[in-house]
């Protein structure tokens, strides 16, 4: 059974078609890495996937969507807004509930961010902001992750541990990555996007970094 299915979808900005028409099925349990040069349509593809389904999906957009004036705690908690009643949410906004604080702290500890629990998101560094958004996704009760460059602001070892955590936590994931090595290491399937279409779609284990070069070479003919 497919976790996500797109049938002959396409996207256009005004007159200009930027994506598709393409068909893509993602089975449950797959960890898909979307690769391609910037502007190839990875983000658009993620948006379409989200629009198609919406339920049971944790979304991690490139610009994070943090509320600058709220604390890290509240931003992470926002991953569960839909899981609680509004009244509960309001109470937790005004006075953080111990139970939620404990659970959010656990998530933050795994990301080495527990000391920033009460810092306003607006006062964090770029990497810390990204980890806050990652924590929000991890806190969200969903089995599918759609993420756009989730570790772009993190250093090497930390990027690897975050990718591992995301793969452990979500049954199915589609992650756009510009770092080819990272993509190969942390996925079961690679989907290469080029000129708005799928130029490559193979299991990761059969691919080397060299096989992906053509995706980034705009002048070369498509394989």
């Amino acid at each position: 059974m497919s976790a996500l299915a797109l049938e002959r979808i396409s996207a256009a900005y005004g007159e200009r078609r930027v994506l598709g028409p393409l068909t893509l099925h993602i089975a449950r349990g797959e960890k898909v890495a979307l690769v391609g040069h910037s502007g190839a349509g990875k983000s658009t593809l993620l948006d379409l996937m989200f629009d198609k389904q919406r339920r049971d999906i944790a979304l991690l957009p490139q610009n994070l969507g943090l509320v600058q004036t709220l604390s890290v705690f509240h931003n992470v908690y926002m991953g569960r807004l839909a899981a609680h009643s509004t009244l509960y949410n309001l109470a937790n906004l005004i006075r953080p509930l111990p139970k939620e604080v404990r659970r959010v702290r656990q998530v933050l500890e795994s990301l080495d961010m527990a000391d920033k629990l009460w810092a306003p998101a607006g006062e964090l560094s770029g990497g810390q902001r990204q980890r806050t958004a990652i924590a929000r996704a991890l806190y969200q009760p969903a089995s599918v992750l759609l993420a756009d460059e989730p570790v772009s602001a993190l250093d090497g070892p930390r990027a690897i541990s975050v990718m591992q955590a995301l793969n452990r936590h979500f049954e199915t994931s589609v992650i756009a990555l510009h770092d080819v090595e990272l993509a190969l290491r942390h996925s079961t399937r690679i989907v290469g996007i080029r000129d708005g279409g799928i130029a490559l779609d193979r299991p990761s284990e059969h691919i080397s970094a060299g096989d992906l070069h053509f995706l980034y070479d705009v002048a070369a003919p498509a394989a």
Partner: protein
């Protein structure tokens, strides 16, 4: 449940939240001691009659309505044009302390107080109305224009060739960058000018307020309805009939449409300055001890009670304004309403902000009888409408992530936290304005400073009136500087175009 030290810091409230809670607590305390009641026998019947008047407007006397409208527009154009010209010249020398102080003082006195002063020596001459608008507006324009000019990109000025003249350097390197801001602020002040002009009718100028007052006094609610509707349409269509290329024409024609009023008695002017405003004990040569007695009596029995009531009412109205703004902004926010819904919201907010608080207070006072309630509701509705409009517009600039929560969760987690900073900044800007208005509402019979000023003038004791007006101005200046301190401490970004 055990708490680690960091958990306790969780309860550490941000300075913004602490300040807000402080204001709310003060307002609640003020509410306890405030005089709030409905004293009329049938307040709802009166309100019903007014609403009936609004839906059955009486346009059977178009000449009277047209004249009132024409005068309102004419006074606004002449007053704002004079104020803007003088303000622009003052902006060039605004770095001088004496100019800054003078402007702060001039704009701290409400246009109705200025009108009451000018009435004493110019009488019911158009000059009274024009100057009552032009003078305080010049003070405001000088300050805001100079801030806008200061914020213009300094680089063009630095790269000017050596020897460039002062004026050409200014016109080429500074004004063009600031021009759009100068224009949009002046347009905004024109709208304020229309409201001021309408309200000047309440002290005898031939503008909308005058017609409104007489219709009200005679109980012609359908005439009241017609006048109000015409005024709302006038403000709502401002952008349609005030075109940049038409403005010079309007300004040129307006001085001839002010009406003639009554001739100025120049003898009155001389007497006002040489006799009327000289403190009575000095005028009668009773010496310094008598002067002190006179002053302390005035301070103790009029100024202090007036200041107290003014502050109490202001603080309640300020928090009421904040509440209304926070409740109202979703009406025009695309994150909460669909397009047809937001049209209705826009109409509601336009009505709230284009109705001058003085007019609104006057109407509510007729309906509910004398107490602080009409003033509080009028101030909160008008100012809440303005701030609700501003932060609603700002909320439309925010892009939420596609999976953001909906409804009340969205309101509490996504919108209010993002908008709270600008919201507080706007509210603190309006603080001084609310206080200035509170003082003036005294003329309607609520015991704020304006009440004592008005009574002194009725009794022809202009010396006392003047002292009270100066005290009012000092109070406004004090609140303004307190608001500035708070804005700085809470690091609320400076925004020129929302003031005042």
């Amino acid at each position: 449940m055990l708490r680690s030290p960091t958990d306790n810091s969780a309860m550490r409230r941000s300075a913004t939240v602490r300040t807000s809670v402080g204001f709310v607590v003060v307002a609640l305390l003020c509410l306890v001691i405030a005089d709030i009641q409905v004293t009329t026998v049938a307040p709802w019947r009166e309100l019903g009659r007014l609403l009936t008047g609004l839906v059955t407007p009486d346009f059977s006397n178009p000449a009277a309505i047209g004249t009132a409208l024409l005068r309102t527009v004419a006074f606004a154009f002449v007053g704002v044009a004079l104020g803007a010209s003088a303000g622009f010249l003052l902006a060039l020398i605004f770095h001088l302390r004496v100019v800054r102080t003078l402007c702060a003082f001039v704009r701290a006195i409400h246009e109705l107080f200025w009108a009451l002063i000018f009435l004493q020596f110019f009488g019911l001459h158009p000059l009274t109305g024009v100057l009552a608008i032009a003078l305080p507006y010049a003070g405001v324009f000088a300050k805001v224009y100079s801030e806008i000019l200061d914020e213009a990109d300094p680089l063009p000025m630095q790269v000017l060739p050596a020897g460039t003249g002062l004026i050409s350097g200014f016109l080429f390197a500074r004004v063009p960058d600031a021009w759009p801001h100068l224009v949009s602020y002046t347009a905004y002040r024109l709208e304020c000018g229309l409201r001021s002009s309408a309200v000047l009718g309440f002290v005898g100028m031939p503008t909308l307020g005058f017609a409104l007052q007489s219709s009200f006094a005679q109980g012609y609610y359908s005439e009241v309805g017609a006048l109000l509707l015409v005024f709302f349409v006038l403000i709502a269509t401002l952008r349609l009939w005030v075109r940049p290329w038409l403005v010079p024409l309007y300004v040129a024609v307006s001085p001839f449409l002010l009406g003639t009023g009554l001739p100025i008695m120049w003898g009155n002017v001389a007497r006002f300055f040489t006799e009327d405003i000289v403190p009575a004990p000095l005028r009668h040569g009773e010496g310094w001890a008598a002067l002190w007695q006179w002053f302390s009596d005035l301070l103790l029995h009029e100024a202090l009670p007036g200041v107290w009531t003014t502050v109490v009412l202001t603080q309640i109205a300020l928090v009421g304004t904040g509440l209304i703004a926070l409740l109202a902004f979703p009406l025009i926010s695309r994150h909460f309403t669909s397009r047809p819904g937001s049209v209705l919201g826009h109409v509601a907010l336009v009505v709230a902000r284009s109705t001058p608080e003085y007019l609104l207070a006057y109407v509510l006072l007729q309906l509910w009888g004398p107490s602080m309630l009409p003033a509080i509701v009028a101030l909160a509705l008008h100012n809440g409408g303005i701030i609700g409009h501003l932060i609603g517009r700002r909320s439309n600039e925010i892009t939420l992530r596609p999976d953001a929560a909906h409804g009340l969760d969205r309101y509490a987690y996504e919108m209010v936290p993002r908008l709270y900073g600008p919201f507080l900044a706007f509210l603190f800007y309006r603080w001084e304005i609310i206080m200035r208005e509170t003082a003036i509402l005294g003329i309607l019979g609520i015991a704020t400073l304006g009440f004592y000023v008005d009574s002194a003038i009725q009794e022809l004791r202009f010396d006392r009136a003047l002292v009270l007006i100066v005290i009012t101005a000092l109070l406004n200046i004090g609140v303004d500087s307190l608001a500035r301190t708070l804005r700085r401490r809470l690091r609320l970004r400076h925004m020129v175009n929302c003031e005042p």
